[in-house]
């Protein structure tokens, strides 16, 4: 028997019991729909995590000074300046896994424009900071080493700071703002970066040259860095090596005895990022696995109904065999029926999953990414479900004895 004949036969058998076919296919619809939706949500979450960490900087490590301890009471990281300017120079120049490093000093200060004032996080740093954080300017220019050497009173504003001081989409380049009542010329506006993984607004900031910061905003000790050091490793897979190099170098420079605690700490952001990504991936896999279980349940539904169908149509099978149907004809007839149920269910499931993902994205502002190849995977899977769960009833039908099948009441 030809395949188009078999397919027409399966189609008419399914249409004959349309309600039953619909309910049976529903199992696969929900299973495939759940897989598709979970994939889209998981993929979206993964991408958002990647984007968030991308925004923090490339191959980023942060060195924090150690803790102060007095009378057994230990302060937290950064409570005691232990990092020196010489340490910074050594990290920048001596370590092969380090591309560049920058000191980052930070203070909250009020910035005033002609009309508004806004308290923001003022950062003093060197030009390599922009490289480390992969942060570009959308207007004007970043400051350079010349500005740092000269202690120029120039400032770069983040997008949020511009909005608060000058209004949305204003061009403040060339204008003067006052920080702690001292005039600073705005030389650039930074590209929008969004939020940190902890929800802090990266764009609510004003960045001034390091020397200017020390001289005008918050004076510090001359030997120690009153802040943290941002380090960029040479490549993403070099962050762990950079971390161990920095640790060794600083312990050596700080003359720490073996076994003594570090008087600094290094955060490997790339590692945190990959841990976060791993977490998201595990969660996605878990959700997809649960969805896949529902697909299997759908498959069992198909098997169940196909077994019922084979029993119901025992006499029909007997007649078909009597008039010359080969066992293979009977097998393919029921297999194609099961396949039709699962593949049509799969197609509807793709549509349902896509719609559900879009709805969730719109309602809860979840990022969802719909990968076209997942449609093929889902269709392949539902076809597999059809074959796996259709094979037993179909082979049962094809192995019936024609005499007994004809006698079946």
């Amino acid at each position: 028997m030809r395949i188009n004949q078999t397919m027409r036969l399966a189609g008419s058998a399914l249409v004959r019991n349309s309600m039953r076919s619909l309910l049976t296919a529903l199992g696969v619809v929900i299973g495939v729909g759940a897989v598709i939706a979970m994939e889209a949500i998981g993929e979206g979450a993964k991408t958002r995590v990647a984007e968030t960490f991308e925004a923090m900087g490339t191959n980023l490590l942060i060195i924090l000074p150690g803790s102060s301890s007095a009378g057994g009471l230990q302060g937290g990281s950064g409570t005691q300046p232990t990092l020196t300017w010489d340490d910074l120079g050594a990290i920048e120049n001596e370590l092969p896994a380090v591309r560049t490093a920058a000191a980052v000093l930070r203070a909250a200060a009020t910035v005033q424009s002609d009309e508004q004032n806004w308290t923001t996080s003022v950062v003093g740093t060197s030009p390599s900071y922009f490289t480390i954080r992969a942060w570009t300017t959308v207007l004007g220019r970043p400051f350079d080493q010349g500005d740092v050497d000269a202690g120029a009173k120039v400032v770069l504003l983040g997008a949020t700071a511009v909005e608060k001081l000058f209004g949305r989409d204003a061009d403040p380049v060339g204008q003067v703002v006052r920080i702690k009542h001292m005039p600073f010329q705005v030389i650039g506006v930074l590209a929008r970066k969004g939020q940190s993984p902890m929800g802090q607004d990266y764009d609510d900031t004003a960045i001034v040259p390091l020397t200017t910061f020390q001289a005008k905003i918050q004076g510090g000790l001359s030997k120690f860095i009153g802040g943290v050091i941002f380090v960029s490793a040479t490549a993403a897979d070099q962050t762990a090596r950079a971390l161990s190099e920095i640790t060794t170098l600083l312990r050596d420079r700080h003359h720490l005895a073996p076994g003594a605690d570090d008087d600094f700490s290094v955060r490997n952001l790339a590692e945190i990022a990959s841990a976060q990504q791993e977490g998201t991936r595990v969660l996605t896999t878990l959700l997809a696995a649960i969805a896949a279980v529902s697909l299997v349940v759908g498959g069992i539904g198909i098997m169940n109904i196909m077994l019922v169908s084979v029993t119901e149509r025992t006499r029909e099978i007997g007649v078909r065999m009597a008039v010359g149907a080969q066992p293979a004809d009977i097998l393919s007839q029921f297999l194609v029926e099961a396949l039709t149920l699962s593949v049509v269910g799969g197609l509807c499931g793709v549509a349902l999953g896509y719609t559900a993902a879009r709805q969730l994205a719109a309602r809860f502002h979840w990022p969802t990414i719909f990968r076209p190849e997942i449609v093929l995977v889902a269709m392949g899977f539902s076809a597999l479900v059809g074959v796996v769960f259709g094979l037993y009833p179909a082979s049962k039908a094809s192995r019936l004895d024609p005499i007994e099948a004809l006698r079946f009441e």
Partner: protein
């Protein structure tokens, strides 16, 4: 169908036995049957229930294989054939008519008749042409699109006969074809069998009703798995005025 000489009988059983095992009990349904049926014969197999007539039917119809002995159909030994080969033989050489009609429900008469041709791999157009011709032969051309539920018992059995003859079989095998019909309709159905026989078809029919057996040309009586008697007779004419008018009435009504 046959490639051998005409002297070779169409159906040839040689010491055929069929033994069923039901737990520990052995049932000898056929205890050594030797018989031959020539092309163009109209044979009626009679016997009480348990005589082995249905088993004989199943063997002749290639639905079942003998436990021992040889069965040749149209010169071909089918005793050692597998399921697939037997299916092919049924498709090419045999036509079946059952007591319970066994038409596919919710399927039109013409599609039911087409069924053997579907498995023979014929094109849709050829199937439809041949099926309509077979329906015309049993006087149901006008009912081609009706479903079994819309047909009377006699009409359903005539659709089944059309299905049995659509593949131009060597033998039509009928198992109690009148068992579910009233006596008047039974005669009508027998008239069709006689018509086919007169046109040259070989018919083997199983029944336990003596008045049905009157319409056959040869009566084989079975008992305890053996042939008890095998007699020729002049068949009664089922196409008597009342019965012969039935197909004509059918066409006029629709």
């Amino acid at each position: 169908m046959t490639t051998g000489p005409s002297s070779v009988p169409l159906v040839e059983l040689d010491a055929v036995t069929k033994i069923y095992r039901m737990g520990d009990v052995e049932v000898r349904a056929l205890a050594g049957v030797t018989l031959s049926i020539a092309r163009g014969d109209f044979v009626c197999v009679m016997g009480s229930s348990g005589s082995g007539k249905s088993t004989l039917m199943n063997v002749i119809g290639c639905l079942d294989r003998p436990t021992s002995g040889r069965y040749r159909l149209a010169g071909v030994d089918t005793s050692s054939m597998g399921r697939r080969q037997l299916a092919q033989v049924r498709n090419r050489l045999l036509g079946f008519v059952f007591q319970h009609f066994n038409l596919l429900p919710r399927t039109s008469a013409v599609e039911n008749v087409e069924l053997p041709l579907v498995y023979a791999g014929l094109s849709a157009g050829e199937r439809r042409r041949r099926a309509l011709a077979a329906l015309a032969r049993v006087g149901l051309a006008a009912r081609a699109t009706h479903q079994p539920s819309q047909l009377s018992g006699g009409q359903q059995q005539r659709v089944a006969i059309a299905r049995a003859l659509v593949n131009e079989p060597a033998v039509i095998v009928a198992d109690e074809p009148t068992g579910n019909l009233d006596s008047k309709t039974s005669v009508e159905v027998m008239a069709i069998f006689q018509e086919l026989w007169r046109a040259g078809l070989t018919v083997v029919l199983v029944t336990h009703e003596p008045d049905i057996a009157l319409y056959a040309a040869r009566i084989i009586t079975m008992r305890d798995g053996r042939v008890l008697s095998d007699v020729r007779q002049t068949p009664a004419d089922a196409t008597a005025p009342a019965a012969a008018a039935a197909p004509a009435r059918e066409q006029a009504a629709s």
